[in-house]
Symmetry: C2
Subunit: 152 residues, 2 copies
DNA sequence: TATAATGGTTACAAAAGTATAACTATTACA
DNA sequence: TGTAATAGTTATACTTTTGTAACCATTATA
């Protein structure tokens, strides 16, 4: 009998390119936001505030790249830097109101793009997809994204 | 009440970077295969044989990029080109035995990487993740990946 | 206090992916 | 038959991402 871990690995491997296609592509058409910037905005929205290092760890992104992305997001006023009073080396990043709005618009663009495809599904199937994606998100976040920790 | 499509959009947006991290990174450490090459091998494994255009459509990948990736895969003998007798313009791509073995090894590397993280979950949660990812894969493939068709 | 470690930035090189145009060969069709 | 459309390749320029090393400021520690 096949182990759960192997089934999961196989499924993730199949899902990954589908998400890549259904998320990155529609968003590229809608906005000048790059995938990396979108990821950063997403975790900031979920976590409220993260240091540069935490962002890099969350996304397995090299620190110099985080700097570049955050610089661009600051230019657009989507995020702000904030010095950490308890450790003056640390720079915390926060999503601004404008950044939040932009992120919601990206999500909306994705929704619209998805809608036409979800029409191919029955009500029950849509409900199943909603539940399955919710469950997957919760579990993956719980095991993969020790977002406040450093050791991954 | 929140619409299913919005819930799904939000969940996909959260899952995407987690997969990116848990798949692309472990594989980069294990092999010189790039994400793009891995995607191509994956759909070839699921579909058996695809033309260059079909590969590009499946993955929303520009055709010139497909050519580059397939060229590299052929160098490594992971795939072969095969002329289509019914339309001599068409070049079909097939995964070789060596390519299949390589892909299975990538999946194995991912399994090993996942195993340590799944240990944090109970048996029931692992079962839930297995079921949820299976469901998500099936539904997303059915609506996003009309792999043999051209109109996306 | 001297030294090591950490957080972050800068600079640079290289790989991966995207986009477009030009081109060949083949097929479809008016 | 002649023209348009399609499949694929090649070439090129560009953006995004990755990786590494050097560097500064700050904090931790021996």
């Amino acid at each position: 009998m096949k182990l759960n871990v192997d089934i999961i690995a196989e499924n993730l491997l199949a899902i990954h390119p589908l998400l890549y296609k259904s998320i990155s592509k529609p968003i590229k058409n809608k906005s000048s936001i790059t995938p990396g910037s979108m990821f950063v905005m997403g975790i900031l929205k979920r976590n409220g505030m993260l240091s540069m290092s935490e962002i890099g760890n969350c996304l397995s992104m090299p620190k110099p790249h985080v700097t570049v992305i955050v610089d661009r997001l600051i230019e657009e006023a989507y995020v702000v830097r904030q010095n950490d009073p308890s450790d003056r080396r640390v720079v915390n990043i926060l999503l601004t109101e404008k950044g939040l709005v932009e992120f919601e618009e990206l999500k909306e663009a994705l929704s619209i793009n998805l809608k036409s495809k979800l029409n191919l599904l029955s009500e029950e199937e849509q409900e199943e997809l909603s539940k399955a994606s919710q469950k997957m998100k919760e579990i993956l976040i719980s095991i993969l994204s020790k977002e406040k920790n450093k050791e991954f």
